[in-house]
């Protein structure tokens, strides 16, 4: 391939070079806590769409009989309960009445990545989790560190972007590590009509 088409292909991948160069960097060395402490009502709502029926998550007596201080968070809740708040007092979350307008700021769409091309498409591709112990209602958890492990630019059926792999510890407010997470994401510029 030669000419403009080849140049274009080379250019979009080259835009990711600053991210590739940053592999190994910790983008969030400070601990960022989830928006809320784990609590019974939020656990119940987490269970509902899953229809996940386990007394450890719903019955404090059953949880205590099993040796826990209160009901336990489903293990997979380490993702949900470490998401920072969407909004904080004094901030404006939405500034447009457009039907599909996006929030001014969101903790889950790669906006905090300051390197590389601007992307508007974003989804998780793979996850690995190690659980060190269950988390119980009343505890608050967050993520410590967000180390970039890899960056691989690639064009897919949905657009041009890069596969990114990140690693974090899940910690309590006291700094105890309760889980570890490695998450892969694909950040991309969606194809538009007319793109091949």
């Amino acid at each position: 391939m030669t000419g403009p088409e080849a140049d274009s292909k080379a250019d979009w991948k080259a835009e990711w070079q600053p991210v590739i160069d940053a592999v190994g960097r910790d983008f969030a060395p400070e601990t960022r806590m989830g928006a809320d402490a784990v609590e019974r009502g939020a656990i119940r709502r987490y269970l509902e769409p899953l229809e996940l029926d386990c007394a450890l998550h719903t019955d404090p007596e059953a949880a205590r009989a099993a040796g826990f201080a209160d009901v336990t968070m489903p293990y997979t809740g380490v993702v949900a309960w470490t998401i920072p708040p969407m909004w904080r007092p004094g901030e404006r979350l939405f500034d447009s009445a457009d039907r599909d307008a996006q929030p001014v700021r969101s903790p889950i769409n790669n906006q905090e990545m300051t390197l590389g091309p601007k992307t508007t498409g974003f989804f998780a591709t793979d996850i690995a989790l190690d659980f060190l112990r269950p988390v119980t209602a009343g505890e608050r958890i967050g993520r410590r560190s967000n180390r970039l492990l890899s960056c691989t630019p690639k064009e897919t059926s949905v657009g041009r972007g890069a596969f990114l792999k990140w690693e974090s510890d899940i910690v309590t407010e006291d700094g105890e590590v309760v889980a570890r997470i490695r998450i892969g994401t694909y950040a991309y510029v969606p194809k538009t009509e007319g793109d091949e």
Binding site: R45, L50, E51, P74, Q102, I108, F122, D126, I127, F131
Partner: protein
Amino acid sequence: MKYEDVTVGEELAEVEYPLNVYRLVMAAGANRDFNSIHHNSEYARRTGAQEMYANTSFLLGAWERCVRDWMGEEGTMRAIRDFRMKAFNYAGETMWVRAHVAAKRLEGETGVVEVAIRCENGNGITVGPGVVEVVLPRRTEGLK
């Protein structure tokens, strides 16, 4: 469920999830993944998808439910590996979580079981196949 009761190769009960907008909106509200691709069909289509699709926490939770239904309250989850998205799980489809016991071993006195697990729809595997590693109590525990 005790470690000694587990047979390598045994199938876990399948979990069926009809995926509809209602469920996916409930999931987004509960697990705080408000990325519009998970609750807004028009937005999702503009990002290259065919429809809005289930979010990561929901799919992880679907694996947890399948394993929890099988192992009961006494089991503990130790790890999830190879949770890979192969295809989107769209609203309007039915998703099944299917799993079987892939391996079991003793680590000292600890009974460890590896469950091979995946999500499927009518076209095949959408997530995984991966592994959920659990620890189950021993039948001999409590007799010492």
